[in-house]
């Protein structure tokens, strides 16, 4: 029998995080034996680009699509067509509206992440202070959810104020400029929280360039390989991330289970995902993989060459 | 044909530049046909000829802008060939061209020195030295502006002074002036004369091109005459009279070429009263009758084309009215003019007349599409029918009707443009320099055709700078000078001499009637 073809569709090719996820997907494929991974995506983070990719995948009659979406809604029609043609569709990392996929794999639970990003900042501000958010695009689904979750728990961190939210569009130069702008507009800023791997690196660079190392702490979600310099320079005390290798691995496992083993994605279902255990689906067919993991000067060396 | 030949050299100087058997052809036109021209040191040679005689083409060959198709150019008896303007400049030939070869965005000094500006040790343009030199040149020719002025801020006359200064900025042995006085005022012309004298005394050879005879007789030592691209004679100014020179220039026997036509003017078709424009023309008033050919004569730049274009709706007059068949009509656009039966065959055929890129038949039917189509949809069969009819009427020579008009000779292009307008069945047709730059054969065809049109009751306005054409074709002639009507002539008053005098504003005692 032919290989099972699972397409791993990412927001844009070339981003370190997704390259690591692809590595995880290959790991899962090797474990499963008869799986071929098609790692693909547009070269810029647009929904239109992803739709063209999805059309090509439907045409190739792949067995499953596991996608990290650039747009919650815009991909729904294309993915619905894929499902009509008998293709298993799941989303991971950045989700698709429920009608456009069978399940969604959150890297972690949104409340946990929302709490984590503010906690990372607050841990270094015992007396409170001003923090600002540097997000990706205004339309990034998961960034928006995390910031929402963060706002819900702000009461647990008295004295910490979010003074502004800016968007770096996941572009290094724009994120850099926005971070610089934040430091100008808020001279007393204590921390920049960037829940995006592009933004956090740019913000750290901006802090170093502005000579504000020690004054402004950059934190949020980033990749150890990209953030190693920032930890070393002191621009960032700590940051968190889940393991993208695990994420790619889990997504591939889930896609395989749904498409090959007749497992149905319904609320409450528990779906195995290899070495990562099982995923339990909630009311909207979503589940969380694991807790985010914190990196700082003590452990960065061990991880920076991995992803 | 009378060929005047130069008497044996009175002085024993030999020419600096000697052109012989020079030929130059453009697609469809032979601009120069085996002409000769000699320029002597310390002397002014006037090159005389009608519009399109090939004078400017000669200048462009001498300055390396065009390359010859045949013939030799010798400098000090050594054959030379110029591949580019730079070669000619290196050989010591400089020119004031008829077209303005200037750049609005540069300063006066830069315009004078572009391409050969003084350099500093570091290879940069030495602006101080350049401005100093330019200021001196400007002073020499009496220019009333500074070398720092932006060229765009200068009027047309002052721009011409810059062109003159540019030509003088090169240390040249040969200075060519192609109609240098066309845009200058009286005072500036006097200064130019002084300058020419200075150049002469420095031993430079000067080629002077002008349509103004008073000027030629005042400063030239020698003359060379071209007619329709051919050499017709040369000699010393001292040996010739003004009349003889005009005859030599105009040459052909007028009655032979132009069709005879019974002159039967009908009722008034067009009446223009007081047409004015802020800067181009003023108070133009005249009437045009059915079946009449009304000539408009004037020197180049007299404002005839500007006025005609305003009548055709391209520019708006500031005042004045236009009546067609007695009714006042307001013409805001060419489309309005065409609807009112006025059509215009422009002077600039390539830009305004023909739509190069479209085939012949589409050019012909362009303004008549309303008639060849139904409800806005093209009917090719109808178009070809119309095009065929008018191509035949004008005796068009072409390979096929769907050939690009750009591949036709000038004369045939002109026929297409005329055909285009006749197909609209107009009442008044304005022909602006209808035979400019077209060969003799096509010229005759156009003339014959104009006569036929008038005979059929079409009213024709013919703008022309060619004296024989004006005299040969017109029932009446309006002479324009500097944007105003200078006089209206008809019958026996229509002689080359009167036309030239009225157009140039020369008041002489030989004729009792001063304009």
């Amino acid at each position: 029998q032919d290989d099972v073809r699972i397409a791993v569709v990412v927001k844009a090719l070339g981003i370190g995080f997704f390259e690591a996820a692809a590595q995880g997907a290959e790991e899962a494929a090797a474990e499963l034996g008869n799986v071929e991974i098609i790692y693909t995506g547009p070269t810029d983070t647009t929904a239109e680009g992803q739709i063209e990719v999805i059309n090509a995948l439907i045409a190739q009659q792949v067995d499953a699509i596991a996608i990290s979406a650039n747009d919650t809604d815009a991909l729904v029609p294309a993915l619905q067509r894929a499902m009509q043609r008998g293709i298993t569709v799941i989303s991971w990392d950045s989700g698709v509206a429920p009608e456009g996929r069978q399940l969604h794999l959150n890297p972690s639970s949104n409340p946990l992440i929302g709490n984590m990003i503010i906690k990372l900042a607050a841990d270094h501000l015992p007396d409170g202070g001003d923090v600002a958010l540097l997000s990706a695009t205004t339309t990034s689904t998961n960034q928006n959810i995390w910031m929402e979750e963060m706002n819900k728990v702000m009461g647990d961190y008295p004295g910490v104020n979010v003074v502004a939210t800016v968007y770096g569009d996941d572009l290094a130069d724009k994120s850099y400029r926005e971070a610089t702008g934040l430091m100008q507009s808020y001279p007393d800023l204590d921390a920049i929280i960037a829940p995006t791997s592009v933004g956090i690196v740019a913000a750290a660079q901006a802090v170093v360039d502005a000579g504000k190392v020690g004054e402004v702490n950059v934190t949020g979600l980033g990749l150890p390989s990209e953030m190693a310099g920032a930890i070393e320079s002191g621009a960032s005390q700590s940051f968190a991330i889940w393991n993208p290798i695990d994420l790619g691995y889990s997504a591939t496992m889930l896609a395989y289970e749904l498409s090959q083993n007749d497992i149905e994605a319904v609320p409450g279902a528990e779906i195995p995902m290899g070495r990562m255990g099982t995923l339990t689906l909630d009311d909207s067919n979503e589940g969380a993989m694991a807790d985010p993991f914190v990196y700082d000067a003590s452990n960065i060396e061990d991880f920076k060459s991995i992803f | 044909m009378t060929t005047h030949t130069a008497p044996a050299n009175r002085s024993d100087v030999s020419p600096v530049v000697s052109m012989d058997m020079i030929t130059k052809t453009f697609p469809g036109v032979t601009a120069l046909d085996r002409v000769k021209l000699d320029l002597y040191p310390g002397q002014v040679t006037a090159l005389v000829g009608e519009n399109g005689a090939g004078k400017s083409t000669t200048v462009k060959i001498l300055t390396g802008i065009y390359q010859t198709d045949g013939g030799t150019i010798r400098i000090d008896d050594a054959p030379v060939s110029f591949a580019s303007p730079n070669d000619a400049a290196k050989a010591g030939i400089t020119a004031i061209h008829q077209e303005t070869v200037l750049f609005d965005e540069l300063s006066v000094a830069e315009n004078i020195y572009i391409g050969h500006a003084p350099r500093t040790r570091f290879g940069l343009i030495d602006t101080a030295a350049m401005h100093a030199a330019a200021a001196k040149l400007l002073d020499d020719i009496g220019a009333p502006f500074s070398s720092h002025t932006q060229l765009r801020d200068l009027g047309i006359a002052n721009k011409h002074l810059v062109a003159i200064a540019r030509a003088l900025s090169v240390d040249a042995r040969v200075v060519i002036m192609d109609e240098p006085t066309a845009a200058l005022s009286h005072k500036e012309i006097e200064e130019l004369y002084t300058l020419v004298e200075t150049l002469k005394s420095q031993g430079k050879a000067i080629l002077f091109i002008s349509h103004k005879f008073d000027e030629i007789f005042r400063i030239a030592d020698r003359f060379t005459v071209f007619r329709d691209g051919a050499f017709v004679g040369d000699g010393l100014i001292a040996d010739i009279t003004e009349d003889a020179l005009v005859t030599l220039m105009v040459g052909r026997s007028v009655d032979q070429i132009f069709p005879d036509r019974a002159h039967t003017p009908g009722e008034e078709v067009l009446k223009v009263v007081g047409y004015s424009h802020p800067t181009e023309f003023a108070d133009i008033t005249f009437t045009l009758n059915r079946g009449e050919i009304l000539g408009f004569y004037g020197l180049v730049g007299a404002g005839r084309s500007e006025f005609m274009q305003s009548l055709f709706g391209i520019t708006k007059p500031t005042k004045g009215v236009c009546r067609i068949n007695g009714e006042i009509k307001i013409i805001r656009s060419p489309a309005d003019a065409v609807n009112n039966g006025i059509v215009y065959v422009p002077e600039d055929r390539g830009k305004q007349g023909a739509v190069i890129g479209l085939p012949i038949f589409q050019n012909i039917t362009l303004p008549s599409l309303g008639r060849t189509s139904s409800r806005g949809f093209l009917k090719l069969a109808e178009e070809f029918k119309l095009a065929r009819e008018y191509a035949a009427r004008l005796d068009l020579r072409a390979a096929s009707l769907d050939q690009d008009i750009g591949n036709l000779s000038g004369g045939n292009q002109q026929k297409v443009v005329i055909a285009k307008w006749l197909a609209t069945q107009p009442q008044v047709i304005i022909l602006d320099e209808p035979t400019k730059g077209i060969d003799i054969g096509s010229k005759a065809a156009v003339h014959k055709f104009m006569a036929e049109l008038a005979a059929q009751g079409l009213s024709v306005i013919m703008v022309s700078s060619e004296i024989p054409e004006v005299i040969g074709m017109s029932d009446r002639v309006i002479v324009m000078r500097d944007g105003l009507i200078a006089s209206e002539l008809s019958g026996d008053e229509l002689t080359p001499e009167t036309l030239v005098r009225h157009a140039a504003g020369i008041t002489t005692s030989t004729e009792g009637t001063a304009p």
């Binding site: 690196v201 | 303007p85 181009e280």
Partner: protein, 326 residues
């Protein structure tokens, strides 16, 4: 004499000053010298590229490939730096300028020798250059920790209180000031764009001048490519995406006529600074950054309408009476 004051530049400069004053009235910190220096440093790449684009536009061409050229050169030097971390910065600079100039030369040859309209040529090379980045990098990013400290440090090293990036922009402006006003090439560029027909009469080769303009624009794009990548300490396929339009916009706002021949170094610089100030000011004065696009669009429209009105050429005057009153 009033004539010697360049009207267009004065008005644009006043508009920028007014803008800065308005911003200062809401946020005084904006006019702090340190912040203004920051704004300038931020705008430096745009200034450099606008000058290159100016030269191209002056010769009646357009270069839509500058941003792609920048990105490709940036990626190339970043990868070279990863492979040979010890390579001194002057080498890197030379490589960047040469690479950029070569890409400009490709555009220039296609325009000069094959007579293909510049907009088609650069539209094509724009996508090709971008694609090549993907091919050479395999779509992967080059991150800050992979670059050598000297590589990323150069543009931000401070000299007399300003970062090197700012100094390079200043040097480029001065060099262009000299080139455009004091060299044969600079003056030819105006001549070619202003009146190509007449340029031929004066012995200027129009095609070769256009080629030269593309090479200059390409070389500057290459230089900016290195500076950009080093400053933001990252290189990937999409850097400076769509930046070509911002560069053209800076030129248009600065009064460079798209029809060629009209424009000045000062205009291009001011046009770039205008956009830079707007971009930096919006977050500061708490106007949503979403307004930025609409503002720069309106600025382009206003500038082009204004320039067309003031640049209208005076007609020829035939009437003697009219000449007197003029």
């Amino acid at each position: 004499m009033m004539r010697h004051i360049p009207v267009r530049e004065t008005i644009l400069a006043s508009a920028i000053l007014l803008l800065i004053v308005l911003i200062a009235s809401r946020f005084a910190g904006f006019v702090a010298p340190a912040n203004l220096a920051n704004v300038f440093n931020d705008t430096a790449p745009l200034i450099i590229l606008a000058l290159g684009q100016m030269v191209v536009i002056l010769t009646r061409c357009i270069d839509l490939s500058v941003a792609a050229n920048l990105a490709l050169t940036g990626m190339a030097v970043a990868m070279i730096n990863v492979a040979f971390p010890g390579l001194p910065i002057p080498f890197i600079l030379a490589i960047a300028v040469t690479l950029g100039a070569m890409m400009g030369a490709i555009n220039g040859v296609l325009v000069w020798k094959l007579n293909i309209p510049p907009i088609v040529v650069t539209l094509g090379t724009m996508t090709i250059f971008r694609g090549i980045i993907f091919l050479i990098s395999d779509g992967k990013w080059v991150n800050s920790h992979e670059m050598s400290p000297a590589f990323t440090g150069f543009p931000r090293a401070a000299f007399l209180g300003l970062p090197v990036l700012s100094w390079i922009a200043i040097i480029t402006v001065v060099a262009f000031g000299v080139m455009m006003s004091r060299t044969q090439f600079g003056r030819s560029i105006f001549a070619v764009g202003g009146n190509p027909h007449a340029a031929v009469y004066t012995g200027i080769n129009v095609g070769r001048t256009q080629f030269g303009a593309f090479v200059v624009s390409g070389a500057l794009a290459g230089l900016t490519g290195y500076l950009w990548v080093a400053r933001y300490a990252v290189a990937y396929v999409d850097i400076a995406g769509g930046f070509e339009l911002e560069v053209v916009a800076a030129c248009v706002i600065g009064g460079i006529s798209i029809a060629g021949g009209i424009g000045s170094v000062g205009g291009a610089v001011l046009g770039a600074i205008f956009l830079g100030v707007v971009k930096n000011a919006l977050p500061v004065v708490n106007i949503s950054p979403f307004w930025q696009l609409a503002i720069s669009g309106s600025a382009i429209l206003i500038a082009v309408a204004f320039n067309a009105r003031s640049g209208r050429t005076k007609g020829r005057i035939i009437l003697k009476s009219a000449e007197v009153t003029q």
